[in-house]
Every structure is written in structure tokens, then in C-alpha cells.
């Protein structure tokens, strides 16, 4: 039977999945826009400003999507998960409050100037607004990842009468998994934007766009991707080792490893069976997991069987979801590495640079436009489902935080949210490519709008 707990989890998962798509874009895109703006100031070349003008529209759209879906999150703590704030509110509260105070207002106030103030304020103030918005989105990520990391590796508190009380704020903010998670997420944002830039620019090339701005964004995207992906793979590895230290049961689920022991293989493919507690159809590299996690062939890798209560209830996360999410993330990352390096290598050997990229590579880049989203979501599913059955590791079980709302009511709101999100996502992707076509073909697609602007101008 589908109960309130599962429905609320799906609903929160759906909301936060939808929400994270847009900050993932705005965090890095803010800095990329600043880069375009600074390049324009330094060189005076129109192509940089063209690039800015196109991508600031994408930024505005993504920003609005992020804002409204973020508001939803702040209410859901109360509507569906009152036990969360009831138990760890003394810690989660200040972190969320600082996000609102330092980041939200900063972004919200300066986004107006950044978007519509170009001709109203001096150039330096417009650039400053861009810096502050980019800084605000990053700061927002800092606070929210501090809280999220604390939920995985809680420190700096004591329990009094079943309620967590803060004892050391520095330890809480800079908890053990925080630096790894924050770097991993910021790099993910950079990669998402890199492939978005490259994908949309490749699309414009394919439909015959010869503008210099398109080439410059294509190149920016590819170079950014090629630079960040090796760093990301390295950061992800460090994050994994950190998780091994603090949440070994999550690593066991990611590796699909049931029994603790040395010489564990790296499982490439398998169907984990949580009833039989073993893998079917396993395809694995001998000693691989031991080598990656412990850096020696006979390194001992933790197994899921160590995390079962005496009565047989598993105290580890659901294995298949974590196992597969992890593989999707890693697979997408490897595809990113391959295509970004291949594209740059190809461009390197041609005199025309990225302008001479082969059509097949361009098609590949278009297909990879949203690969950053895929990898980010898969990564978050890995780490968040990997924390189950805990909401705050070792402190609060997910099932103990649930609100007493009837299941049909949760189902009703869940379906409404899902329908809204699906429609908005379609509209977002549709408008993104529509903007790309419009920019490629000039204003020919929207004659009525350009006439109305002309009329407005004459009227003034």
C-alpha cells in the first residue's frame, strides 16, 4: 500500500529534483555572464555582448524557475516534515535563515538591475549587480549544502530531551562532508552550464548560425567542460572516500557489495536483489572496488550485511536505486569527458577551430545539452537515497519526521505538482530552443513584436 510516508518522500523528491535543475544552471551561469561582460569591457568586441544578451535571457528564465520552486521547498518542511524542524530545527533553522538573509535578498534585489538596468545605471553598477547576483547564488549553495552535509555528517551538537542543540557553529557549518559536497556541487553546476552553452550553441551551428557570438559561446562551453570534468572526477573520488569514512553503508550500496571483505570487485553491471541479498548477472572487474576505495587489491570494503538490525530490518539504503543512480552519474561523467576532449582535440587540428567541428560532434553536443542535469540528479539520488532510512544520519529517521496528513491529500498535491512541473519543464526546454532559433534567424520569427516595439518607440 502507498502510504503518507512514501508519498511525502516522492513529493519532496519531486520538488527538490525540479528545484535543483535551475540553481544548478544559475550558480555557474551567473559567473559565465560576468566573464562575457568582462571580456566585452576588455576587448570591446560586440560578440561578447551578443553572447551576454542571449544568455542573460536564459539566466532570467532559469532564475524565475528556481525562485518559485524554492519557495515551495520552504513550505514543505512544515506541511510534510514537521518532525525535521521539531528535532533539528535549532541547527537547520539558523542555516536556512542565513541563506535567506545573506543570499536570497541579495540576488532578488540585484537581479532587477542586472536584467533591466543596463541602460539605467552606470556600467560599473551593472557589472557590480552581475557580480552580486552570481555571488548570491553561490552563497545560497554554500548555506544549503552546509545544512545538507550536516544531515549526512552531523557534528557540533548535543541531544537534550530528544531535540538537537547547537554547541559549535563552526563545526556545524564546516562539517566533515561539507567541503567535498560543496565542491562537487559547484563543479556540477559548472559542467551543467558548460554543456548547456555547448549544446545550445551547437544547435545554432547546425541550423546555420554563422554569428561570431555563437562560436564564442560554443568554445567557452567546450573549454569549460574539458577543464572541469577531470577536476570533477577527482573531486568525486575524494567525496566518495569521505563517504566511505562517514557513511560506509552508502558506499556498500553504491558498489552493490553485500559482504564485508578484501579483494572486492568493481561491479560494472548487476541486478541487486534485496530479498536474496545478492547480485544477479554480475559483470565486474576483479579487485576493482578494493583498489578504488582502499588503493590496494586486498583493501577491505564494507558490505551491506553489516547493516541489518537483529530482527532482520535493514538499516542500509535501498540498494538498486543507489546502485543505478551512481552508475548513471559516473556514465554521464565519462561521456562528458569523451565528448568535450574529442571536440577540443578535433578543433585543435583544424584551422577553423570550433567553427570546423564535424556535424556528428555537434549532434552529440546537442544530445548532451542537458547531460549536466542528468548527472546532477543521479548524483543527488545516490547521496540522498543513500542516506536512508535516516533523515539526519544517526539522529532522526525519515519515518519519524512525517506529518500526519492523510495519504489521499498528499497524493492529490503530488499529482498537481508533478503535472505543473512536467508542463513547466517542457515549456522551459521549448522556449530555450525557440530563443536559440530566434537568435539564429534574427527577428524574422516574431514580426508582430518588433513592430509593436517600433510603435512604442515612435509613441515615446
Amino acid at each position: 500500500m502507498i502510504d503518507t510516508l512514501l508519498l511525502s518522500r516522492i513529493q519532496f523528491g519531486a520538488n527538490i529534483s525540479f528545484h535543483i535543475l535551475f540553481p544548478t544552471i544559475t550558480i555557474a551561469l551567473g559567473w559565465v555572464l560576468l566573464f562575457f561582460k568582462l571580456r566585452f569591457s576588455a576587448t570591446g568586441e560586440e560578440r561578447w555582448m551578443e553572447a551576454y544578451r542571449f544568455w542573460v535571457k536564459v539566466f532570467a528564465l532559469s532564475f524565475a524557475m528556481g525562485v518559485v520552486s524554492g519557495i515551495t521547498m520552504s513550505f514543505q518542511f512544515g506541511t510534510n516534515w514537521p518532525g525535521f524542524m521539531g528535532t533539528v530545527g535549532n541547527i537547520a533553522g539558523p542555516l536556512l535563515a542565513y541563506e535567506i538573509l545573506t543570499a536570497f535578498f541579495l540576488e532578488a534585489a540585484f537581479i532587477g538591475i542586472m536584467l533591466f538596468g543596463f541602460s539605467r545605471v552606470p556600467g560599473w553598477l551593472h557589472t557590480l549587480a552581475t557580480v552580486l547576483v552570481a555571488f548570491g547564488t553561490t552563497l545560497s549553495a554554500f548555506w544549503i549544502l552546509a545544512l545538507n552535509s550536516w544531515m549526512h555528517t552531523p557534528v557540533g551538537f548535543e541531544m537534550r530531551d530528544g531535540v538537537a542543540h547547537a554547541t559549535d557553529w563552526l563545526a556545524i557549518v564546516f562539517n566533515p562532508s561539507m567541503p567535498y559536497r560543496l565542491s562537487h556541487m559547484l563543479l556540477a553546476s559548472g559542467l551543467t552550464v558548460a554543456f548547456l552553452l555547448a549544446g545550445v550553441s551547437a544547435y545554432r551551428r547546425l541550423i546555420g548560425d554563422e554569428q561570431p557570438a555563437t562560436l564564442v559561446t560554443l568554445k567557452t562551453g567546450l573549454v569549460l567542460a574539458a577543464l572541469l570534468i577531470p577536476v570533477q572526477i577527482f573531486a568525486g573520488d575524494l567525496h566518495g572516500l569521505n563517504t566511505l569514512q562517514h557513511q560506509p553503508q552508502k558506499i556498500a550500496a553504491m558498489e552493490g557489495n553485500w559482504q564485508t571483505g578484501p579483494n572486492k570487485p568493481l561491479v560494472l553491471f548487476a541486478l541487486p536483489d534485496s530479498e536474496a541479498r545478492e547480485n544477479h548477472y554480475e559483470l565486474a572487474i576483479p579487485n576493482g572496488a578494493s583498489l578504488i576505495l582502499k588503493h590496494s587489491f586486498d583493501g577491505v570494503v564494507p558490505g551491506l550485511d553489516d547493516y541489518v538490525a537483529d530482527d532482520g530490518t535493514p538499516l542500509h539504503p535501498p540498494v538498486s536505486a543507489v546502485f543505478w543512480s551512481f552508475r548513471i552519474m559516473v556514465g554521464t561523467g565519462l561521456a562528458m569527458l569523451a565528448i568535450s576532449w574529442a571536440s577540443l582535440g578535433f578543433a585543435w587540428h583544424r584551422r577553423r577551430g570550433v567553427a570546423g567541428l564535424h556535424k556528428l560532434l555537434l549532434i552529440g553536443l546537442v544530445a548532451m545539452t542537458f547531460s549536466g542535469w542528468l548527472a546532477t540528479l543521479a548524483g543527488w539520488y545516490t547521496t540522498e537515497i543513500g542516506r536512508q532510512p535516516w533523515l539526519v544520519q544517526g539522529v532522526l529517521m525519515t519515518r519519524d519526521a512525517i506529518a500526519d496528513v492523510p495519504a489521499p491529500m498528499v497524493l492529490a498535491t503530488l499529482l498537481t505538482y508533478l503535472a505543473t512541473y512536467a508542463a513547466l519543464l517542457l515549456a522551459y526546454v521549448g522556449v530555450l530552443f525557440y530563443l536559440a532559433r530566434k537568435a539564429t534567424e534574427g527577428d524574422r520569427l516574431m514580426p508582430e513584436v518588433s513592430t509593436s516595439i517600433t510603435q512604442l518607440k515612435t509613441a515615446e
Binding site: 520552504s74 512544515g78 506541511t79 514537521p82 524542524m85 534585489a109 532587477g112 491529500m409
Partner: protein, 336 residues
């Protein structure tokens, strides 16, 4: 922390004040931009663009005050946050859908292919309307002590309608400031029609609140409280008169007084809010949970307070900057 006496007393009071301030700022600021959305179907295509331009640079910051208010409720009074939001589960969800639709419609209506613009215009209206109705409904149920009976739901529907009219009204007064010509004239007309709704709404809430509980009745209708509080209703009547007169004479030839209706409406909102705050203090969940019982641990509240006191002036500073940059009559919003 102990400088001002027992932190378990003064911290909850301070945070109740901060939360009240955030709600008040939210109701005035997002009130006008939600209201502009509620008025949307009454304008033609060009006027719609102008209406959007009058709120485009501000709506996001305005809505942040809602996040701030709900954030303060969440962090300062976590027990109340859970109780209130669980009780209002469906209206909250409906409001959120409304906020989502109108928020993205700002962007989509300007960026989607021209034939789709009308769809996004409708969604912008629908989202604004649903948000205003849901907030009014929640206000009514909150006043009624979060009980669900036929009577309280009927009262909720009444407050839903009144708050929506109120938002439409303050939206119209905002448009009187930010526009000129025919749209300004239209806005004056909308405001004139809405004034009746404002009066009904204020009267309904003022009359109903004292009869919800004996405690609130005693707080208002006993000597000397009744005399001390008399300025509240008297000033409200004064501002209604100011509105009535100013709306009769607007638009004026030199556009010198176009700010008066918006200012008077904001003042009315402040007075109404002050009355409600007085009625419900010290309860955060009416008649069930006081701010002292619901408050977080003092050490957590204190660290938030430090940040708030440091950051709040800065927030007010750059909000002022934004309103200064986009002062004057609204013109077309452009990225370049």
C-alpha cells in the same frame, strides 16, 4: 544574550516582531504586484506589457519577504510552523501552485513564441488570483483558530474575496503611481470600484476577530484598553476618507498626488495588521500555542538575531537602491 533580561522571554518577542514585520512588508509589497496580476484581464495587450513593466524589477524581492516570514516562523517557532502548515495543507499547496505559475509567467510571456503569449497572460492572471484567494482563505482560517467548520470555511471564503479585492486595490494604486495616460485613468477607476471591497473586508475582520474568543473580546472592549486603542479604528476611517477623496480627484494635472492612494492603502494595511497582531499576541497558533512555548532554543535564536540585525539594514539599503533605479513611470523592460 542576558543583557536584556531572560532570553527565553525577549528573544521570542523580538522574533515575533521580526516575523510580523516581514509579513507586513510582504502583504504591502507582494500585495501590489499580486494585485496587478488580479487586474490583468481588465487591460488590453499593450497595457498588460506596461503593467508587467511596473512590477517586473520588483516582484522577486517582494516575494522574498514571504520566504523570510515563513523562514522566521520555521526557524524561530518550529512547533508552530508544523502545526499551522499541516492544518492549512491544501490552501498552502494551492497558493504555491499559484505562485509558481505567476512567477514563471513573467518570463515565459516575454520569451515564448508570440501565439503562446496569451496563454501565459492567462496563467499570470490565474496564478495571481489563486495566490491571493488562498492567502485570504488562510488568513480567515487562522483568525478562526485553524478550526474547520462550515462557519469558519464560510468566513475563510469571505476573507479570501476581501483580501483579493484588497490586493487588486493596492495594485491599482501602484499603477496610479507607475503609469500615466489612459492606463492611469483606468487604474483610478479600478481603485474606485475596489474601495467598497476594502471597507467590507476591514469591517468583516474587525467585527469577527473579537467574537472568536472571549480573550480577544476582553482585550478590546474593556476600559481603559478601549480608549487607548480607539485611534486604530479612527485612523482607519480617516485613511478611507483620504482614499475616497483622492480617488475622486485623480488623475491630477501635474501628477503631484498620484502617490497618495498607495500610501493611504499601505497605512490601512499597517493598521489592520496592528489590530490583528494585538488580538493574537501572545499566541502564534491562536488559543493553542504561545510564542514562548513555540520558540526555538535561545542560543539558536540569538545567532540568527545577530545576523538579522547586521543584514537587515543592508537589505533595506539595496531594496531602496532598486526602487530608486526603477523609479518614475514604468517604461518597457529591455535587456539592453
Amino acid at each position: 544574550m542576558h543583557m536584556f533580561g531572560d532570553p527565553a522571554t525577549w528573544l521570542p518577542v523580538t522574533f515575533a516582531g521580526l516575523m510580523g514585520l516581514s509579513i507586513l512588508i510582504y502583504v504591502v509589497l507582494d500585495g501590489f504586484d499580486l494585485g496587478v496580476g488580479v487586474l490583468f484581464p481588465m487591460a488590453d495587450a499593450k497595457e498588460k506589457d506596461r503593467m508587467i513593466a511596473s512590477i517586473g524589477p520588483f516582484w522577486d524581492a517582494n516575494e522574498t519577504w514571504l520566504v523570510m516570514a515563513i523562514g522566521l516562523l520555521l526557524v524561530a517557532f518550529p512547533a508552530a510552523h508544523g502545526t499551522i502548515l499541516t492544518a492549512l495543507y491544501l490552501p498552502v499547496a494551492i497558493m504555491l501552485i499559484g505562485l509558481i505559475l505567476r512567477g514563471v509567467a513573467f518570463e515565459f510571456r516575454a520569451k515564448a513564441p508570440a501565439p503562446r503569449k496569451e496563454l501565459w497572460n492567462r496563467l499570470f492572471f490565474a496564478g495571481s488570483l489563486v495566490t491571493a484567494l488562498a492567502q485570504g482563505f488562510m488568513l480567515g482560517l487562522y483568525i478562526m483558530g485553524l478550526e474547520f467548520t462550515l462557519l469558519t470555511i464560510a468566513f475563510g471564503i469571505l476573507t479570501a474575496l476581501c483580501l483579493t479585492v484588497g490586493f487588486g486595490f493596492i495594485g491599482a494604486t501602484w499603477l496610479i503611481i507607475k503609469t500615466d495616460g489612459q492606463l492611469q485613468q483606468k487604474a483610478v477607476g479600478w481603485a474606485r470600484q475596489g474601495l467598497v471591497g476594502i471597507i467590507v473586508g476591514l469591517a468583516a475582520v474587525s467585527l469577527a476577530t473579537p467574537f472568536v474568543s472571549q480573550r480577544i473580546l476582553d482585550k478590546w472592549f474593556s476600559v481603559p484598553e478601549f480608549l487607548i486603542l480607539a485611534p486604530l479604528p479612527l485612523m482607519s476611517i480617516l485613511f478611507v476618507v483620504v482614499l475616497w477623496i483622492s480617488l475622486r480627484h485623480l488623475p491630477d494635472t501635474h501628477d503631484r498626488w498620484s502617490w497618495v492612494p498607495f500610501a493611504a492603502t499601505s497605512a490601512l494595511f499597517v493598521l489592520a495588521f496592528a489590530g490583528l497582531a494585538y488580538s493574537f499576541y501572545p499566541y502564534v497558533v491562536p488559543e493553542k500555542l504561545t510564542i514562548y512555548e513555540a520558540a526555538s532554543a535561545p542560543e539558536s535564536l540569538f545567532i540568527i538575531l545577530l545576523g538579522t540585525l547586521f543584514v537587515l539594514p543592508i537589505i533595506i539599503g539595496y531594496s531602496a537602491l532598486s526602487y530608486t533605479v526603477f523609479r518614475g513611470k514604468a517604461t518597457e523592460l529591455r535587456y539592453d
